[in-house]
């Protein structure tokens, strides 16, 4: 306290020194000419934080240079559902990220406008503002939601457009220039503003009303099978599920650690995942932990969509785990090929996992296609 006061005095002293001098030597600086301010920089919109998050985890991350606005969200929502962004005007973000599938699709690999397919499963989108490390995609190659949104538009196997062409299409549209003006105060459309608007819309895609969420809030009782499954989720013993180190807990209801792991899918890798981005061979075969929310809508599973059903996923963790140089030490039953769950254990675990799905999320009117 004492030192703080002294520092303040020092600053005051400095200011006085300068003031004393400038008053004698320098003409007062005229105030700057008023600069025309952009009109319509948007109406601030507070991101809804559900109670199960509020009571347990850190606040959402919203970049200071892209605050949520009513107009920005509306623009992003329209763009998300509009095929205008694709090279031939036939494909929108929502074609591979559809609300009924929790903003993924039901295919192992999605097909782009030139009928090409990639080697990764389309990722579900929800609770993106709670992705602490800010790394998006299965391999973490985008460092923000905004950066992520820039990717698919120009990816040759996805929307296969160029940004100059996409911006020209938007600029020539009858509605978009005024919507950009409302959201960002400019009618000059550029790719960064497109990505910012889409990211704003995506941040509103909050899912937190599953049966388990309502159980956490004391609003309902789980079935005995669901409760048994939750204990199996937390059971690290052979025969248990041993899921919690990567997939959250009642205190971390994101149901992901937002980190990257090799979960023992393959002995050798055809896709290096995170390692291809970092260049570190110790990261080869690592992919982002997907949330366990909304599994009822997001099949198929894994970064390459190799498992068509949840039963196949549980069989993998039970009997299908294989060693590899970068396998995560958390796969602690890898030596026995997995946790060796019994059929009834798997059935109970599956019941718990499905209690994390949120039917209100996929039908939320605010998230649906706004275009006529």
């Amino acid at each position: 306290m004492v030192r703080k006061s002294l520092n303040i005095l020092l600053v005051i002293g400095m200011v006085i020194s300068f003031y004393s001098c400038s008053k004698n030597k320098i003409e007062p600086i005229p105030p700057p000419e008023p600069v025309p301010q952009p009109t319509g920089v948007g109406t601030p919109a507070v991101l809804f934080v559900p109670q199960v998050f509020l009571q347990s985890i850190n606040p959402p991350i919203i970049p200071a240079n892209n605050p949520q606005t009513v107009e920005g969200i509306a623009l992003g929502r329209k763009l998300f559902y509009d095929p205008i962004l694709s090279g031939d005007g036939t494909q929108a973000c929502a074609d591979c990220h559809a609300p009924e599938f929790s903003f993924t699709d039901s295919n192992q690999f999605s097909t782009g406008i030139t009928m090409l397919q990639g080697n990764r499963n389309s990722m579900a989108i929800f609770n993106a503002a709670w992705n602490w490390n800010g790394q998006f995609f299965w391999d973490g190659r985008a460092n923000s939601l905004e950066e992520q949104a820039l990717g698919p538009v120009v990816n040759p196997i996805e929307m296969n457009n160029t940004w100059p062409a996409a911006m020209a299409s938007l600029q020539a549209d009858g509605l978009y220039p005024s919507m950009f003006n409302d959201a960002f105060g400019t009618t000059v459309i550029d790719s960064n503003l497109v990505a910012m608007a889409i990211a704003q819309f995506e941040r509103t895609l909050v899912s937190a009303n599953s049966r388990f969420d309502r159980f956490l809030l004391g609003q309902l009782a789980l079935t005995p099978q669901e409760l048994s499954g939750f204990n199996i989720f937390n059971d690290g013993n052979l025969g248990g599920g041993d899921c919690f180190h990567c997939h959250g807990s009642a205190a971390n209801p994101l149901w992901t650690d937002n980190d990257f792991h090799n979960n023992g899918l393959d002995a050798t890798f055809t896709d290096n995942g995170l390692g291809a981005i970092t260049g570190n061979p110790n990261d080869n075969g690592k992919f982002k932990t997907p949330s366990l929310r909304n599994l009822a809508y997001t099949a198929p599973y894994m970064h390459d969509g190799r498992f068509a059903t949840l039963d196949e996923v549980l069989d993998h963790y039970s009997q299908g785990v294989v060693m590899s140089p970068t396998i995560d030490a958390l796969m602690q039953h890898a030596g026995t090929g997995g946790t060796q769950m019994s059929p009834s254990t798997k059935a109970d675990l599956k019941a718990f996992l499905l209690s994390l799905s949120d039917p209100d999320f996929i039908t939320n009117p605010a998230f649906q296609d706004p275009n006529p």
């Binding site: 004492v2 030192r3 002294l6 520092n7 005095l9 020092l10 005051i12 002293g13 400095m14 006085i16 020194s17 300068f18 003031y19 004393s20 001098c21 004698n24 030597k25 009571q55 347990s56 985890i57 850190n58 709670w130 602490w132 204990n231 937390n234 059971d235 690290g236 013993n237 052979l238 919690f244 180190h245 990567c246 959250g248 807990s249 009642a250 205190a251 971390n252 650690d257 980190d259 110790n282 060693m323 140089p325 396998i327 995560d328 030490a329 958390l330 796969m331 602690q332 039953h333 890898a334 030596g335």
Partner: protein, 282 residues
Amino acid sequence: MKLITKSLLGIFLLGTLFTSCSKDEGCTDPAANNFDVEALKDDGSCTYDKLPEEVHEESHITFNFMHHFDGIPVTAANFNQFNFVTANGDTISITKLRYLVSDMRLYTTSGDSVMMNGYNLVDLTNGTGLSYEAGESDLGAFAGIGFNFGFDTTDNAGNYLDLNSANWNWPVMIGAGYHNMQFEGKYKFNGADSLYAYHNGTASNMGAHEQNHISVRLPGIALNEHNVVVTIEMNIAEWFRNPNTWDLNANHSNLMMNYGAQKMMQANGYNVFSLGAVSQRK
């Protein structure tokens, strides 16, 4: 006193920078009764009600956490390499190391302690929490420095949003609360890679939960300056050595639900930490 002198010196030096400005002389001490805002050169005319009081001096304490394996420095840069040999002769690599420290404290010579509340998650894997500004204390000599490895029973019952977000929780069925440590890697067994997950937290035995944190006490230090940086060193090798020579092939995984393993970790943990360099500056 030193800082007052420094402030006066600062004002004086700044004043001299502008000696080309036309200026009156006067009292230039803002703390004086007759402080003259226009004066740039002090003429010795300052008057005071009374002499400035003796300043009560404090020290800001920062803890740095350093890690080694019997003298080999360990950072994330030498993770994933079979660089280390345990007391049992197991050759190991490290893939993750993070742990919680709480209630940093200083023991006074009269037997009390000065608590610096709070906690810090040291994460060697991501390079976060390696430096922790714990708080303030009066200057002086202290008989010891200490902290808890993990949370004590009371703190372990709290709800910490940042730790929840870091997925640091310990399952309810084995005592709830939080991990003390997650320490993972591989060991060689018959030439092949095997996995270990040396996780520490509440010890649970047939439904009975037993606190398992470690109250660490290290030698005393003197706080002489306003900023003191205390280095805490972890010798990772000690987790495998004393009093329990750790056989990784017997205890490599599923240790969280293993009461005996948890208590052996606690016993070995008392020998893990030591006091490293202490640096002091104004």
